[in-house]
């Protein structure tokens, strides 16, 4: 009945598969960049994870219409390829027209529909591209391992080339270029298959349409969210983007506002009554990221730097002692503060090379870099890696938490690992302090206190591991109306230092929240907090309150203020289920800001992913039943498993390996941020390693499992489990030994550790597909769809599990699922159903 005629003359379109696979992944990363610029980075991650449903849907479509689709393979392959070319820029353009606004999601139900529209529109190019791959997989089942390998290797090349290109070209331009590359692959396929006149003409027409779309000026404009800081600042009369730099990490914009001067000085004392020096605004992905201050020969212009809470650290330094200051992350105002308020050499650790170039080259004259560099050294790299490798002991370490303030207020940071603020990071800073050293951590005030209390709790936790007799004597806490600074001293604060702090706060109008032996009446004098006075919270966290212990306070606090660790580095995750209901009721009473939007969105995304996955997976099973009821089975292909048991086995096998691959991939991506220093490097590195080595594994899978494939696969999965356990056990030590090395060596060693695991992870899918190809070819697209859907759910689930259980648990779960799949592989095939007749192409 479901006969598929083999066409042995048809060649596999290797070049097109390679290009499309590469383009699919390049498009994913490019969308991540583009959506980060116009929307918010973490929202972009969620939108794209769901848009990847395109892969699953392509499998479902081919499952349902496989006879028809495989019969018209050439036409469909070229059409989907051409559609992918057109849709890749068009979908992004349409997504901008939807004007989704995350900030309004609590108030406006239409935003939910807009978000769904965003998912749907962005899903289309992935669907078109994935259809090409699925068609080839199903059309050439006897070459499945090689096609899968080509797919993975193409994807790896795609991501590598895109990352490289992002250093040289803006993302909007690359979107056009990518579209053209895909269109060229459609032409190549057309040439390969010697398409007829009409097919060729259609192809030329589609290519022309793509070109016409790309030349349209609409595609050059990125419509940023009107509520992002950059959009708002550009509304000022005369304000322009003076300089724009793009890199895979971020898009950097420098804004000059000649008519209305910019006046950024977060948390500046009410007592400062002078004008601020001239400045240019600095924006990263459209969010405020500090300023560039024009050099002034008259030092009095910089007096305002004394009126920030972060200045306290300089007032408490011992003047005649040896000093060396380190600043985490480059911020011109804090840099000048260190320069003018202390005489010591300064080192700045910054991971964004473009930002460093901006200081050293583009705006060197504006900020007078030649003068500053006499005492300041800019170090490119990650803060943790820098701390690990530096031999210097510092008299002051300044850390700022107010980088992505806007994302912070949205709660979007809660889904992003913050390795700078984990207990292990604080231990590292502590170790690098000189005998009289100070660690100063500055952050934006939140009300009720969340990040401030979590930070204090993390510090207390770290100090408790240092075997200090009186940890509470090493802490000091002050705040202004908008910012707060926590100071941690290697030696207990002296009476003189306490006097200096009191004087500083009195002169500048700041509030002393905590110092050793503070009395209640000394707090809340200038900047009063009506709710949740932080003085009392600090007392409780430091176990200085007789009524309630610190543990009880943390347990009873309505936000999660447990310290973050390297295994669970989600510092901004404050969500507690016990408070969720109360907070949701407070929206109407002015409490909308209390509600974290990111975590519920993650849960909603997961729920949507599960529901859609089930629908897509069940559809190929249900549709033929309907078709047979209505006796309309001409186009609908019925699947041919050997019974419900086998359906279940196939479902569990392919969903297990889909989940497992993504759980391990996401856990590696998040964990390796610590090793390589930036999320985007981590994403690129992990995906590239996994794809290349899984691709090699896939291409060799036929040989490795030639005899007794089931037994061989089980052995190899057991080996994978052993390797993963070793990684989990030894990764903290591996990190410590790698951190001192240069990035190139670190990357090489990471490849050495992960590549064997990636190689083994490439085996289960092609092995099982090859088993299906022997006697159940029709099930290949369904299996592909299950795997695709599980990958989407796995991506979102991995983040959720990592927040609650940590990366080690996620990796363990991934391995457990691979072992489960190894156990199930024997059940995915069986005797043919007597009432089904099939011919597979390789029989």
């Amino acid at each position: 009945m479901n006969k598929i005629k083999a066409n042995t003359e048809l060649a596999i379109p290797w070049s097109a598969v390679f290009i499309i696979s590469g383009a699919l992944l390049a498009y994913e990363i490019l969308l991540l960049r583009l959506l980060s610029i116009i929307q918010w980075q973490h929202l972009a991650f969620m939108v794209i994870s769901l848009a990847l449903f395109g892969h699953g849907i392509s499998g479902v479509l081919i499952s349902i219409f496989q006879r028809c689709m495989l019969k018209h393979f050439v036409l469909l392959f070229i059409s989907c390829n051409a559609l992918f070319a057109i849709l890749s820029p068009l979908s992004f353009y349409l997504s901008q027209l939807l004007e989704f606004n995350l900030l309004e999601i609590l108030w406006d139900s239409s935003q939910i529909y807009r978000l769904l529209g965003l998912y749907a529109v962005l899903c289309l190019p992935f669907l078109a591209g994935a259809c090409c791959i699925s068609l080839v997989l199903c059309r050439f089942p006897n070459q499945i391992a090689y096609v899968y390998a080509c797919d993975l290797l193409g994807a790896a090349c795609g991501i590598a080339l895109l990352i490289l290109a992002l250093y040289f070209f803006p993302p909007a331009f690359l979107l056009k270029a990518l579209s053209l590359v895909i269109a060229v692959s459609a032409c190549l396929a057309c040439r390969l298959y010697r398409g007829g006149f009409y097919l060729k003409m259609s192809c030329i027409f589609l290519l022309m349409s793509t070109l016409a779309l790309l030349l349209s000026p609409q595609f050059d404009r990125l419509q940023r969210q009107p509520y992002k800081a950059l959009s708002k600042i550009l509304l000022l009369p005369g304000a322009i983007i003076e300089k724009e730099k793009h890199s895979p990490l971020a898009s950097l914009a420098v804004v000059n506002s000649p008519i209305v001067p910019l006046r950024h000085a977060s948390g500046l004392s009410l007592y400062y009554q002078q004008a601020l020096p001239l400045q240019k605004g600095l924006f990263i992905d459209g969010m405020a990221a500090g300023v560039l201050l024009q050099f002034q020969t008259d030092k009095s212009h910089y007096n305002y730097l004394h009126f920030l809470t972060s200045a306290l650290a300089y007032k408490l330094q011992k003047p005649k002692a040896y000093g060396h200051i380190v600043l985490m992350d480059l911020d011109h105002a804090r840099l000048l503060q260190a320069y003018y308020l202390s005489p010591y050499p300064i080192t700045v650790s910054e991971k964004n090379q473009q930002l460093i170039k901006l200081f050293k080259d583009d705006y060197s004259d504006y900020i007078n870099w030649p003068l500053l560099q006499q005492r300041i050294k800019l170090q490119h790299g990650d803060n943790r890696a820098f701390m690990q490798e530096t031999p210097v002991k510092y008299s002051l370490i300044q850390l700022s938490m107010d980088g992505a303030t806007q994302a912070g207020t949205l709660g979007l940071n809660s889904l992003s690992p913050q390795y700078n603020l984990t207990t292990e990071a604080l231990e590292q800073y502590w170790d690098k302090l000189s005998a009289n050293g100070l660690l100063s951590i500055n952050h934006q005030l939140s009300l009720p206190a969340k990040s401030g209390l979590k930070l204090l709790n993390s510090v207390v936790n770290m100090l408790n591991t240092q075997a200090l007799s009186d940890p509470e004597r090493h802490i000091m806490l002050i705040r202004s109306w908008q910012t707060a600074s926590l100071l941690l001293a290697k030696q207990a604060f002296s009476a003189l230092q306490i006097q200096q702090a009191k004087k500083f706060c009195q002169e500048k109008g700041f509030e002393l929240v905590y110092y050793p032996a503070i009395q209640a009446e000394e707090s809340h004098r200038v900047n009063q907090l009506l709710q949740a006075p932080d003085f009392f919270s600090a007392q409780k966290l430091l176990n200085l309150d007789n009524k309630i212990s610190a543990a009880e306070f943390i347990k009873n606090y309505k936000f999660n203020i447990q310290p973050a660790t390297d295994n669970k580095p989600y510092f901004y995750h404050f969500f507690k289920w016990s408070t969720a209901e109360e907070l949701s009721h407070l929206k109407a009473f002015g409490g909308a800001a209390l509600i974290n939007k990111a975590y519920p969105m993650l849960l909603t995304t997961l729920l949507a992913a599960v529901i859609f996955s089930l629908i897509f997976i069940l559809l190929p099973l249900a549709l033929p039943l309907f078709a047979s009821v209505f006796n309309k089975t001409a186009f609908i292909s019925s699947l041919s498993a050997t019974g419900p048991g086998s359906y279940c086995s196939i479902f569990f096998y392919f969903s297990s390996i889909g989940f497992a691959f993504m759980l391990i991939e996401i856990a590696f991506i998040q964990q390796l941020v610590l090793f390589v220093g930036h999320p985007l490097f981590s994403i690129s590195l992990v995906i590239a390693i996994l794809l290349i080595f899984a691709g090699i594994g896939s291409s060799l899978s036929a040989r490795l499992t030639a005899t007794e494939p089931i037994r061989q696969l089980r052995k190899l999965m057991f080996l994978l489990a052993m390797m993963m356990l070793c990684w989990i056990l030894f990764s903290p030590f591996i990190y410590q030994s790698l951190a001192g090395l240069v990035l190139f060596k670190r990357v090489l060693l990471i490849i050495l550790f992960i590549a064997p695991m990636a190689f083994l992870m490439g085996l289960p899918l092609p092995t099982a597909l090859a088993i299906l190809a022997r006697n159940q070819t029709e099930l290949i697209p369904w299996a592909w769809a299950i795997n695709g859907c599980a990958s989407v759910v796995g991506t979102v689930l991995a983040t959720l599990l990592a927040i609650h259980l940590g990366f080690h648990a996620v990796l363990l779960l991934g391995v457990a699922l691979y072992l489960l799949a190894a156990g199930l592989i024997a059940t995915i095939t069986g005797k043919k159903c007597p009432f089904k007749q099939r011919d597979s192409t390789d029989e």
Binding site: N101, L103, E104, L106, D108, S109, S110, Y113, G117, P226, Y227, S231, K232, L235, I259, V260, R263, H264, A265, G267, L268, L270, Y271, Y272, Q273, Q274, Q406, T409, L445, S446, L447, P448, W481, Q482, G509, V526, N527, Q528, L529, L530, A532, I548, F553, N556, K558, F559, S578, L586, A588, F589, G590, G591, A592, A593, L594, I595, F630, K632, A634, F635
Partner: protein
């Protein structure tokens, strides 16, 4: 075979039509002027005021008041908020929620408007400065309560639209200027109260200087759709400045009786 597909296509079409209708209906994007006028705005306004009073009752512990100033509530019930809202969103104008007015700006949640106005402690003889006119709604509320309101808006189209709107409503005690609000309005200083609807890192020193001794300044901190807290700056008779952060909601961060 085509029959099945016909049926399938028909179902799909119906499904997509249904989705499309839902999309159209749910946000209520276009409400005709005639329909808007037919609704009883006054009733909606009264309902909004009742809702605010209920909210205040639950927040009473924190704002140290049994209820907001009755004059403020009276003003809230008099000013036609729907006139300050873009036409497509008019039906939502009396919902207790913020609404987008374009240019990245919003008209604040009515509860927040009432609370901020109350924190200013407005008196009939007062002269108030507002930085960030926006739609003009906050100025219109203040105009009901004080002698004169001076409002500065940096975005020219917003300032022009607000001016026309207030003229149409015959609210004559508001003076609007399109300029940089940082410098305040020296010509008419000193002010009894100042309200700043958009604040950066620095509270503008000229504004603090233009605040009368004994005067109050209120600033919302947070994003346009959710105010994190309100900052109340008070200037004593001696000219000393103190600030107070007010969470606009009843929320005890600890469970139990601690």
């Amino acid at each position: 075979m085509y029959g099945y597909f016909g049926l399938y296509s028909l179902r799909s079409c119906l499904f997509f039509c249904l989705c499309f209708c839902l999309l159209l209906i749910s946000p209520l994007p276009v409400i005709s002027q005639e329909y808007s006028d037919a609704l009883s705005w006054k009733t909606l306004r009264q309902n909004m005021v009742l809702a605010i009073e209920e909210d205040v009752a639950s927040t009473v512990h924190y704002i140290n008041k049994e209820h907001l100033d009755p004059r403020v509530m009276q003003a809230m019930s008099q000013v036609p908020r729907h006139e300050f809202v873009p036409l497509p969103l008019r039906l939502l104008s009396y919902k207790n929620r913020p609404l987008a007015i374009g240019y990245g700006q919003t008209i604040s949640q009515p509860f927040i408007v009432a609370l901020m106005t109350d924190l200013l402690n407005p008196k009939p003889e007062h002269r108030v400065l507002e930085i960030g006119t926006g739609s003009g709604y906050q100025a219109a509320i203040l105009a009901q309560l004080v002698k004169k309101v001076y409002s500065i808006e940096i975005i020219q189209p917003l300032a022009d639209a607000a001016g026309k709107r207030l003229d149409k409503l015959k609210i004559n005690n508001i003076k609007i200027l399109s300029a940089d609000g940082f410098y305040g309005w020296q010509e008419f200083a000193l002010f009894d109260a100042i309200i700043v609807t958009a604040v950066g890192g620095q509270i503008p020193p000229p504004l603090l200087q233009q605040l009368k001794p004994g005067g109050r300044m209120v600033l919302p901190v947070g994003d346009p759709f959710s105010v994190q807290y309100l900052l109340l700056v008070e200037k004593s008779q001696k000219g000393e400045l103190t600030s107070r952060q007010v969470l606009p909601v009843r929320f005890v961060p600890l469970t139990g009786q601690h």
